[in-house]
């Protein structure tokens, strides 16, 4: 069975008992990796290919060269490397430092946001001071960066790119947008939530701009590239539930999701994930209703429970994450308990990609993470890794 087929078989619950730890769902804060290396881990851990081999991850390829979904744009603050999550704008904004003190720096980042960062921890979520879109006028200018044919949206050598992507036996993911998350990145949460009431027409226009871009990207990409799964990014919930009501979700988002999932289905693509932090229990049935069937990272601190979701939705939902990152802070006993409680039933049902319930945070030790990996391998009947 090829690597692509295996990924799809696990997702579709056709490989019960199979452990698939992918490099996509098992990801790290930069600070985590730098901290481990500083404390004596192999320096190559910062390299994703090496990391994949070291931890025994299955490789998944995201088509990041096509600028469609959320992109991680690298930058550097005082020698510390970090990434900023950026909507699919072409071109990016120029980064500019505005002011700084000993501890913090204020910059305009590549997404056009004015943010205050901690110099020593630039990858942490910043304080947002100003957003690139504040009204219809600023939107009119900003939306030019979302044109499907904006320079830089597509790889220069499309033919070569297609050949390279199709030649490799690695599951390939296409990012297909975001109808809430991007708007929040453009306007800021408070302004966005007011705008749903103050100017719903602007919300619809922004969502339709995303829709136009993503439909074009999907049509063009799937015509040539073999894609195995698709990914939305929303981050539209917090600890107690969704940031907007299910009724608002239904009104504004479902019709647009449907247009995208219908097109994906037309191309035979039926593994469609959404990445949303927080408690998404009230949104899952709505996403399922419009063809989005995979959910990550299922944050435990927000009350998400993959075992309960499996019981509630059966094999119709693909689940990823949900291993409580806080257990990895506590130590081996807590890690074992977390894995033993969740992994056996979820592996048995299939349709589950294990990982920590978000990026691995910097206060998790390498030793604990190694123990986490080997405990999961033990449950799946695989040999423990030596981690040399």
């Amino acid at each position: 069975m090829s690597s692509r087929e295996r990924f799809k078989a696990v997702a579709r619950c056709r490989k019960p008992g199979e452990l698939s730890l992918t490099n996509f769902f098992n990801d790290f804060w930069n600070e985590t990796l730098f901290g481990w290396v500083k404390n004596g881990a192999p320096s190559q851990l910062a390299n994703s290919s090496f990391r994949g081999q070291y931890f025994g991850f299955d490789h998944v390829r995201v088509l990041r060269e096509i600028v469609s979904g959320l992109r991680q744009v690298p930058y550097e603050i005082g020698g510390v490397e970090a990434y900023v999550a950026t909507p699919p704008i072409c071109p990016l904004f120029h980064m500019k430092a505005l002011e700084e003190d000993e501890h913090t720096i204020i910059i305009i980042n590549r997404a056009g946001q004015t943010v205050k960062l901690l110099k020593d921890h630039p990858q942490q979520m910043p304080e947002y001071l100003a957003q690139p879109v504040s009204d219809r006028e600023t939107w009119k200018e900003y939306k030019k960066k979302l044109a499907p044919d904006a320079p830089g949206r597509w790889p220069d050598d499309w033919k070569g790119y297609v050949e390279k992507m199709n030649a490799r036996d690695i599951p390939v993911c296409l990012q297909v947008g975001s109808f809430f998350g991007f708007l929040r990145e453009w306007m800021g949460l408070e302004k966005l939530l007011y705008t749903f009431y103050d100017d719903p027409g602007l919300i619809e226009e922004m969502m339709d701009t995303i829709l136009t871009l993503e439909l074009e990207v999907i049509e063009r990409a799937l015509k040539d590239v073999k894609v195995d799964w698709a990914l939305f990014w929303e981050d539209m919930a917090y600890k107690s539930g969704p940031l907007i009501s299910p009724a608002m979700f239904r009104k504004f988002m479902i019709p647009r999701y449907r247009k995208i999932t219908d097109l994906l289905h037309k191309h035979g693509l039926d593994i469609i994930f959404v990445d949303s932090d927080g408690n998404i229990n009230k949104l899952i049935p709505l996403w399922l209703e419009c063809g989005v069937n995979g959910f990550w990272p299922l944050e435990v601190a927000a009350g998400m429970d993959a075992v309960a979701l499996r019981k509630e939705y059966g094999k119709g939902a693909i689940l990823a994450g949900n291993m409580d990152k806080r257990a990895l802070l506590k130590g081996k006993e807590a890690i074992r308990e977390e894995v033993m409680t969740k992994l056996p039933p979820l592996l048995e049902s299939g349709g589950y990609f294990p990982s920590v319930d978000h990026l691995v945070p910097p206060d998790v030790t390498l030793e604990n993470f190694q123990y986490f990996i080997n405990t999961m391998r033990e449950v799946a009947g695989l040999e423990k890794l030596p981690f040399h």
């Binding site: 901690l118 408070e190 009431y197 944050e299």
Partner: protein
């Protein structure tokens, strides 16, 4: 009169700020006491919406537009409230813990506490433990509210409790905490009396702490 207060309370819950302003202006012309308009209609409206939030009937956008409508009404009332100011529920010194720049949750808590009659001293983000203690002393705070969104920064919360102890304030200042990785269990483990899941339960919790302090 009860019908009027109920209708105005409903408009606050709808977030209809223009209607709220109109109704408050008319009520003042009709010589209804400003303090009654404030407490029986505006604050009552926000409190009713808080209950609906807990029931899952409304969400954050509805809370935000409701607070805005209430505040517009309060702006009209303010010149008429002199001498009949509502008694404040208490004073809360609020901030995001050192090493953490998240402010959205903290800002929502501030809006809800103020809307429900608390005086809030907002220290902002990335606040060192010593600054919480200093502000609690200066403002004679009843509660210190601490937000933390990171597992890395949540461990610093106990430093605030230590700083309050060192300043001799711990006996009279209650500590309330919240944020994505925070649980009631964690709050108990570090000796924080209060824990809030969200901006609405933060108000309930602050009121509970005020009662327990009396």
């Amino acid at each position: 009169m009860a019908d009027f207060f109920k209708t105005l309370s409903d408009r606050v819950q709808d977030g209809d700020d223009q209607k709220v302003v109109q109704m408050v202006e008319k009520a003042l012309k009709d010589r209804i006491l400003a303090i009654d308009i404030l407490e029986k209609a505006l604050v009552a409206g926000l409190q009713a919406l808080g209950e609906r939030f807990k029931e899952g009937e409304v969400y954050l956008p509805e809370i935000l537009i409701s607070i805005r409508a209430m505040n517009r009404g309060v702006d009209v009332l303010r010149p008429h409230l002199q001498g009949q100011e509502a008694q404040k529920q208490g004073c809360v010194v609020l901030g995001t813990i050192e090493g953490d720049l998240h402010d959205i949750g903290k800002n929502l808590v501030k809006l809800m506490l103020e809307g429900n009659g608390f005086r809030v001293v907002d220290l902002g983000i990335d606040v060192p433990a010593s600054s919480f203690a200093k502000a609690a002393g200066e403002h004679r705070a009843d509660i210190v509210g601490i937000s933390s969104l990171l597992t890395l920064s949540m461990t610093s919360i106990s430093k605030v409790i230590d700083a309050l102890k060192s300043s001799g304030l711990r006996d009279r200042v209650r500590v309330m905490i919240g944020g994505a990785p925070i649980t009631r269990q964690f709050a108990d483990s570090i000796g924080a009396e209060g824990f809030a899941e969200d901006c609405v339960t933060a108000v309930d919790e602050a009121k509970r702490l005020m009662k327990s302090a009396k």
